[in-house]
C-alpha cells in the first residue's frame, strides 16, 4: 500500500485540542473534516488534498483521547502522518481508524512544506526530496489490525471466528 502526497509541516506537542476542538465532538465524521487542524491552521481543510501527509515533530496528538481527531483528519483526505513521535492514545486511535501513522525522525528532519512524500506502508520506506528513509515498522499485531482496515474490521473477524467456534 502506497501513500503519496504533498507535505504539511507542524511542530512539537500538537494537541488533539488543536487537531479537533472538543465542542465538535458530537458532530458526524463528515462534518468534522471542516475543523481538522483548526487550532493550528483554520485553512488546513481547504489546503489539504487527498493523500497529503502531515509531517510533525515530537508528541503529535498529545492530550485528549477524542477519536474525532483522527476521524476529522481522515475525513479531510489525509493519507498519513509521519512524526518524530506520537502521543500514545492518538497513535492507537489512528491505527483503529485505519489512518496510517509512522515514526520516522530522519524523514521529518528532511521534509519541507509542499514537498512530495511517498510512503510504502508495508515496508516502512519513506521517500522525500530524493532521499530514502526507513520508518519504524509496524509490530505484527498492529499490522493485523491495519490489514483489517482498522479495529471494526478486526472485531468483525473475531466475532465471525467466535461464531464459527461456537457452531463447530
Amino acid at each position: 500500500m502506497i501513500v503519496e502526497g504533498r507535505i504539511h509541516v507542524f511542530g512539537d506537542n500538537v494537541t488533539t485540542d488543536e487537531i479537533m476542538p472538543m465542542h465538535k465532538a458530537a458532530a458526524t465524521p463528515a462534518e468534522l473534516a471542516a475543523y481538522a487542524m483548526a487550532g493550528c491552521d483554520p485553512d488546513f481543510p481547504k489546503k489539504v488534498k487527498p493523500g497529503d501527509v502531515i509531517v510533525a515533530g515530537e508528541n503529535f496528538g498529545a492530550g485528549s483521547s477524542r477519536e474525532t481527531a483522527p476521524l476529522g483528519l481522515k475525513g479531510a483526505g489525509l493519507g498519513a502522518i509521519v512524526a518524530k513521535s506520537f502521543a500514545r492514545t492518538f497513535y492507537r486511535n489512528c491505527i483503529n481508524q485505519g489512518l496510517p501513522i509512522l515514526v520516522c525522525p530522519d524523514a521529518v528532519a528532511a521534509a519541507k512544506p509542499g514537498d512530495v512524500i511517498r510512503i510504502d506502508l508495508e515496508s516502512g520506506r519513506v521517500d522525500v526530496a530524493g532521499r530514502t528513509f526507513q520508518a519504524e515498522p509496524f509490530p505484527p499485531f498492529l499490522l493485523t489490525i491495519i490489514r483489517h482496515g482498522g479495529n471494526v474490521g478486526y472485531a468483525r473477524a473475531v466475532l465471525a471466528e467466535r461464531a464459527r467456534a461456537a457452531g463447530a
Binding site: N13, T15, D17, E18, P21, M22, H23, A25, A26, A27, T28, G39, E58, N59, A62, G63, S64, S65, R66, E67, T68, L71, S85, A87, R88, T89, R92, N93, N96, Q97, P139, F141, G150, N151, V152, Y154, A155, R156, V158, L159
Partner: protein, 423 residues
C-alpha cells in the same frame, strides 16, 4: 525476574504465568464504559461490528457528564441515542440526570462500587487512569476501542514498561495531590512517560486519603503515560468495601521488578505549584508567578471536583469574598458530591463568597458547556489541561492548580500563596 503490578494484572487476565514488556496481549475487560462526549463514536463503532448484543450488560456503564443538561439540539440527540442504546441492550449501569446518580465517571464509578483492585477498566477517556488509585489497570483509551470492547468483551494491549515514582515524607500545609502530580509532570515533561505506566509509591502516597490519590493518578496522561497505578492497601480497599464493590484481586509489584526508571522526590520539599499556560509541564512554584491577575477561577473536574476539594476551597473562602472582577465557577464532579457539599454547608460557604455553582458535570473544563473563556481571560483551573483553546478562545490563558491555590486566587484576584489569604 520479577514483574510489576501492571504486568501481573495483564498476565493474570491473559491466563499466562508471566508477560514481558512490549508483548501484545488480548484480555477480558471487567468494565467497559463511555460518556456522552464519546458516545456517538462508541455506538457507531459497536454497531459497525455487527454485534447484536453487548458482551455483558452487567459490565457496561454509561454516564452523562460532558453536556449536562443538554447544551444544544445536537447533544440532546446524542443523549436520546444513549438512552435508546441503554434500553435496547439492557445496560445495567446507565447514569442519566433523571434523579439517580450521575456525573464524571472517574469519580462516579468508584463511588458506585464499579471499580475493583486488579480490574482491567476499558473507558473511552484520557483520565481513566484515575482508577489506578484502586490498583486497577485503567489506561487512557480512545472511543472506538470501547465500541469494539462492548462487542467483544476483550481488548488488546502492548504490555507497558513502568516508571516507579517514589514520594516520601510529610506534606506541608496547602500542599496536596495536585501539587505532587504537577511537580512530577514538571520534572519529566508532557511526553516523559509515553507508553509507560506511572507506578506511585512511598510514604507520602501511602499516607494520602483516597481522593488525593485519585487526583495523582488522574493526570497520568499529562505526562504522556498510558496509565497510573498504586498498590491497593487498607485505604483503597476500605473505600471499595464501603461502596459495596467487589474485593477484586490485590497484586503487588515484586521487589525485583524491572522499571524503565525511578523518579524520587521528598514530600516535605514540595510547595504549592501551578502549571503555566499552555502546557501541563510548565510547572512553577506559586511564589514564582505571585501577583498574576486572574479573571476566572474554576474549581471542579475529575481531577479536583471531589468533596475533599470543595472542603479545601471552602476552608479558604469561608467568611471571605471573591475579588471584584473575578468569576468563581464551581462544578461538583457528581450529583452525590453536590448533595454532600450542600448538606455540609459547603455550597453556602462558596456561594456566600461569590461562587456560581453549576450542575454536576465537567463544567467549563474543556469548553464543553459553559464558563467558556474569551481572548483576554486568565483562569486558574483545578482541571488537568491548559492547552491553547482548551477552555475557550485560543488566546485565553489557563493556570492549573490545586483547590487551595485556586480559592486563594479567587479571593486575591491574583495568584498568591494560599497561606497569605488564609492567615
Amino acid at each position: 525476574m520479577g514483574m510489576t503490578i501492571t504486568q501481573k494484572i495483564l498476565a493474570h487476565k491473559a491466563g499466562k504465568d508471566r508477560v514481558a514488556t512490549g508483548e501484545f496481549v488480548t484480555v477480558p475487560v471487567d468494565l467497559a464504559a463511555c460518556h456522552d462526549a464519546a458516545a456517538n463514536v462508541v455506538m457507531d463503532t459497536f454497531e459497525a461490528t455487527g454485534a447484536d448484543r453487548v458482551f455483558d450488560p452487567e459490565r457496561v456503564a454509561m454516564t452523562m457528564r460532558a453536556y449536562v443538561p443538554a447544551r444544544d439540539p445536537v447533544v440532546a440527540q446524542v443523549h436520546e441515542r444513549m438512552r435508546r442504546f441503554a434500553r435496547r441492550y439492557g445496560i445495567r449501569h446507565f447514569f442519566d440526570y433523571d434523579g439517580g446518580p450521575h456525573g464524571i465517571e472517574h469519580v462516579l464509578y468508584p463511588a458506585q462500587g464499579l471499580i475493583a483492585a486488579g480490574d482491567v477498566f476499558l473507558n473511552s477517556d484520557s483520565h481513566t487512569p484515575t482508577a489506578g488509585a484502586f490498583g486497577a489497570f485503567a489506561p487512557a483509551m480512545g472511543w472506538s476501542d470501547v465500541g469494539v470492547g462492548l462487542a467483544l468483551g476483550t481488548t488488546w494491549f502492548r504490555v507497558p514498561e513502568s516508571i516507579k515514582v517514589v514520594v516520601d515524607g510529610p506534606l506541608r500545609p496547602y500542599v496536596g495531590g495536585k501539587d505532587i502530580v504537577l511537580t512530577l509532570i514538571g520534572t519529566i515533561g508532557v511526553a516523559g512517560a509515553t507508553y509507560q505506566v506511572l507506578e506511585w509509591t512511598g510514604s507520602t502516597i501511602r499516607a494520602l486519603p483516597i481522593e488525593e490519590r485519585m487526583t495523582i493518578c488522574n493526570m497520568a496522561v499529562e505526562a504522556g503515560a498510558k496509565s497510573a497505578i498504586m498498590e491497593p492497601d487498607e485505604v483503597s480497599q476500605a473505600y471499595i468495601a464501603s461502596r459495596g464493590g467487589r474485593p477484586g484481586i490485590v497484586f503487588r509489584s515484586d521487589p525485583d521488578a524491572t522499571y524503565a526508571r525511578t523518579v524520587s522526590f521528598r514530600g516535605d520539599a514540595l510547595e504549592p505549584v501551578v502549571a503555566k499556560p499552555s502546557l501541563p509541564d510548565r510547572v512553577a512554584p506559586v511564589s514564582e508567578v505571585r501577583g498574576t491577575k486572574v479573571t476566572q477561577v474554576f474549581i471542579g473536574t475529575c481531577t479536583n471536583g471531589r468533596l475533599s476539594d470543595l472542603r479545601a476551597a471552602a476552608s479558604i473562602l469561608k467568611g471571605r469574598k471573591v475579588a471584584r472582577g473575578v468569576r468563581l465557577l464551581v462544578s461538583p464532579a457528581t450529583r452525590e458530591t453536590y448533595m454532600q457539599a450542600l448538606k455540609e454547608g459547603l455550597v453556602e460557604v462558596l456561594m456566600e463568597a461569590g461562587a456560581t455553582v453549576s450542575p454536576a458535570s465537567c463544567g467549563p473544563c474543556a469548553a464543553l458547556h459553559s464558563g467558556v473563556l474569551g481572548p483576554d481571560d486568565v483562569c486558574v483551573s483545578t482541571s488537568n489541561r491548559n492547552f491553547p483553546g482548551r477552555m475557550g478562545h485560543p488566546d485565553s490563558k489557563v493556570y492549573l492548580a490545586g483547590p487551595y491555590v485556586a480559592a486563594a486566587a479567587a479571593v486575591a484576584g491574583a495568584i498568591v500563596p494560599p497561606e497569605e489569604v488564609a492567615r
